[in-house]
C-alpha cells in the first residue's frame, strides 16, 4: 500500500496507488479512517488516478470512507477512475451512492 494525502481549506485529498485488492484493502481502510478522524474535513476526495486495478475489496474501501465521512456530516468524492475500476464500481452500484468526478475515458 502506498498513498499520499493533503489538506487544503477543509478538503482532504487521498491519492491511492497501484492495485487495490483484499491484500492491501484493510491497510487502506484504516489509513483513510485515520486521516478523516485526524482532520475532520468537509470534503474527502479519493483520487484513483494512479490506481490500475480494483476488485470488490476496493468497493469496501469506498464504502468505509463513505461511512467515515457520513459520521462527520461531510461529503465523499471519487475522481480519476480508470475504465477497469469504473466497471467494478458500476457493477456494484456504488456509482449511485457516491459522487464521481472526471472519470477517465
Amino acid at each position: 500500500m502506498h498513498f499520499t494525502s493533503f489538506l487544503e481549506e477543509g478538503r482532504l485529498t487521498v491519492a491511492l496507488t497501484g492495485e487495490i485488492d483484499h491484500h492491501c484493502a484493510k491497510s487502506y481502510i484504516q489509513a483513510i479512517a485515520a486521516k478523516i478522524e485526524a482532520y475532520t474535513p468537509k470534503v474527502c476526495v479519493l483520487d484513483f488516478q494512479e490506481v490500475s486495478f480494483v476488485d470488490s475489496s476496493g468497493i469496501a474501501v469506498v464504502i468505509n470512507a463513505l461511512r467515515n465521512m457520513t459520521q462527520i456530516e461531510g461529503q465523499l468524492l471519487l475522481t480519476g477512475i480508470a475504465p477497469q475500476p469504473m466497471r467494478v464500481f458500476q457493477a456494484s452500484g456504488i456509482d449511485k451512492l457516491v459522487e464521481i468526478k472526471e472519470a477517465v475515458s
Binding site: E19, D21, H22, H23, A25, K26, I29, F53, D55, S56, S57, I59, A60, I63, N64, P83, Q84, R87, V88, A91, S92
Partner: protein, 143 residues
Amino acid sequence: MKFDNYMILDFPSKSSNEAFARSAVACFAAQMDPTLEELGDIRTAVSEAVTNCIVHAYPEKLGNITLRCRILKDNVLDIVVKDKGVGIADVEQARRPAYTTGGNERSGMGFTIMESFMTNLEIISKPGKGTTVHMRRKLLRRQ
C-alpha cells in the same frame, strides 16, 4: 471436452497470491487476443474467486488453491478455482449481492462481480469438503 491449451497452478492461500493469480490468468489469456476490457473483467473475476478461498475457505490456516484455465473452441476461456476449505452451506445466500460473513472489510459483491463479468458462473460446494467455482468467458473475435 476439446480444448486448445490449458494451464494449472497450485498455490497456498496467501493474500499476496491474489495479484499473482489474476496476472497469471491474464498472461495465459493474452494468446486469445482479448480486448483491454475483456482482460480487465477476467482479472477481476479471478481476483474475486481467489480472494474468496483466502478469506472464507481457509479462515484459520493456509490451504491449497488450484487454478485451472483452458481455452475451449469458439474463443471461450474456461476457469476453475478450487479449494478444499470449509465450504458454503447455502450457495444461493452467498451469491446474493451485499451478503457477506467477512465484516466491514468486505463488500459482499464478489459473486455479483463474477456473475456480471463472466458469461457463465457455477458454484459447487460441500460444507467441510471445499468449493469449486467454474467460470467461462466468451471472447469476441476481433477483425
